[in-house]
Amino acid sequence: MLKVINALLAIVGGVLGSLLLFYVMNKVVERLPRKWEERVKPYVFFGPAVLLIGFFLIYPAIRTIVFSFANSDSTSFIGLTNYTDLLGSGDFVSGALLNTLLWMIVVPALTVIFGLAVAVLADRLRPRAEKFTKSLIFLPMAISLVGASTIWKYVYESRPEGTPQVGLLNAILDKFGIAPVAWLQLSQAHANSLLLMVILIWAQVGFSMVLLSAAVKGVPEDTIEAGRIDGASEKRIFLSIVVPQIWATVITVFITVLIIVMKIFDIIYVMTGGNFNTDVIGMRFFTELFTNGNNGYAAAIVVMLMIAIVPVMLYQVRNFRRQEAQR
């Protein structure tokens, strides 16, 4: 119970403590001459937040870059060796890197397509059915990927031939007299990776659906009506009138899912531990850092991830600027 008391103390301390900190700093600043007060006060307000960001994100990020040029316990510099080691090993390139690339190609696209399909199709159901369907598909957003993986591990479970199958997929095969398949070990054509991707898609379609549904409902009726009057088919109306108007949302969803995919870790850790050719860079990072204790490799992997994310970051900033200009 000590933990609970500690947690409660932390909550009270965190809120009151930070409030007190701001209050005291504010009082101190108010004693300054008027001109200085106006100048200094903003720093008091954003200072603690910037310190936290600096200490827990920016400074460590710089240290990570430095570590990526150092040896496994960060005691001496070894130049680009970590990078050449990693990029020179087929294990990393055609394993973790290639699989991550596959995830990046498959998952965001399918999540957008499924989300859009649900958004458009559910729109045509009766309101009660629409609400039920959407709530159901949205629900996996709440649970952890560890939880989602547990759910699907049970679906993929495989027992030796001849014994009763408790996994849904193999039970279905069994009904047709087909021998059970050890799904998670099925690395031909990356089949097992695809089965792991199903978990993330299952978890993320709800997010995609909610955003896209709001966008589709926001398409002005008169633009669609105009298409109908011109005699366009439903398909044509959807592709030429609706899609262009929701494109910005499509991109937002795509990028959000893409970022999640690039650093995916939980699903692989729980389902296969990166074995059977399902390794990804998020998993490899953990293996190097925690299991192998190799700071150099782990840092180099993160730096590669960071470089891959820079374009997304630039897009995000540009997008934000455009939004601000419209405000």
Binding site: K3, A10, G14, S18, Y23, N26, P42, Y43, F45, F46, A49, V50, L52, I53, F56, L57, P60, T64, A117, V118, L121, D123, R124, L125, A129, E130, K131, S135, I137, M141, A142, I143, S144, V146, G147, T150, Y154, P164, L168, V210, A214, V216, K217, V219, P220, E221, T252, I255, T256, K263, D266, V270, F286, L289, A299, V302, M306, V312, Q316, Q323
Partner: protein, 308 residues
């Protein structure tokens, strides 16, 4: 699940939405068989795996591991096949029972949610209502940091915590999550505050109220929806996180539900009746929070927030 998903109120409405309010359905036509069947199949795909998990968590160990969960539905009234023992076992037995992890998760997630809120709110206020040099540039940095994955901080942080003996303790995780969540918190709160009428702040200023008073008496009460949005995001994020908990808390007495469930899954010979019960214990709180506060969650989501 009574909250409607149909009309989220984005704090930054898209151009199309601003031009015209959302309508009854832009593509209006009745659902044909194709639509009904497709949606039916989709619902089943989303529902069945979870139903299987739920049913198994109430089955006798012997039955759960020698027959599929669907066989239990064939005779649902046979009372002897149902049991609550699995939940009892997973909550109270074992080296670190799920019950202990449940308390740990609360002890991690609540402070990690509450601590950053106040700090972010002050920062968001300064970005919205105060003038200072480099304000816009600083905010652009915050926007850029939104998509940066927290992995960038983990290598040095693990080393740093190790050197000051903070590894394996709750404060290590609170502080890390407070830092990682800060860009999103500032972003959500600032975007919301920017929609508040500036006249309120200005008239308060004319009345002689200091920034501190304006913030505390006016802006914080008006920003409750945005504060709630972020709180839910952060709470779910921290509760459901595996990597940070695994690195900084590990698998000892302080392990949280996600780490506990992952380690149950990794152990040979754990029966499915225990795994499924453990999974539901780990999901109970997030599901409850999510279902009851979905409105705020959707508002945060539609504000265009992306977390790296």
């Amino acid at each position: 699940m009574t909250v409607s998903l149909d009309s989220p109120t984005p704090s930054t409405p898209s151009r199309a939405a601003r031009r015209k309010p959302p309508q009854q359905g832009a593509m209006q036509s009745r659902a044909g068989w194709f639509v009904k069947i497709t949606m039916g199949i989709l619902c089943l795909v989303w529902l069945i795996p979870t139903v299987g998990l739920l049913i198994t968590s109430f089955r006798q160990p012997e039955a759960a591991n020698t027959s599929g969960w669907w066989t239990a539905i064939a005779s649902p009234l046979k009372a002897t096949q149902w049991t609550l023992q699995n939940y009892h076992d997973v909550l109270f037995n074992g080296q670190t029972p799920m019950g202990v992890s449940f308390v740990n998760s609360l002890a991690v997630a609540l402070p990690a949610t509450i601590i950053p809120i106040m700090i972010a709110a002050f920062a968001a206020y300064s970005f919205t209502f105060m003038q200072f040099k480099g304000r816009d540039a600083l905010f652009i940095v915050v926007v850029g940091l939104l998509v940066v994955p927290y992995q960038v901080a983990l290598v040095p942080l693990l080393q740093f915590y190790g050197s000051i003996g903070l590894n394996g303790t709750f404060p290590a995780v609170w502080l890390a999550h407070a830092g990682f969540g800060m860009p999103l918190a500032i972003y959500i709160l600032r975007n919301y505050m920017a929609t508040l009428p500036l006249s309120v702040v200005e008239s308060a200023k004319i009345d002689g109220a200091s920034h501190f008073v304006t913030f505390w008496r006016l802006i914080v009460p008006m920003s409750v929806p945005a504060l709630a949005s972020f709180a839910i995001f952060q709470f779910l994020w921290v509760w459901n996180d595996l990597l940070v908990a695994l690195l900084f808390l590990g698998q000892g007495d302080n392990m949280v539900v996600t780490v506990n469930l992952a380690s149950l899954l990794g152990q040979q010979g754990q029966g499915w009746q225990l795994l499924t019960a453990g999974a539901f214990v780990s999901m109970a709180i997030p599901l409850l929070v999510f279902v009851s506060l979905q409105r705020y969650f959707i508002r945060g989501m539609t504000s265009g927030a992306v977390k790296g």
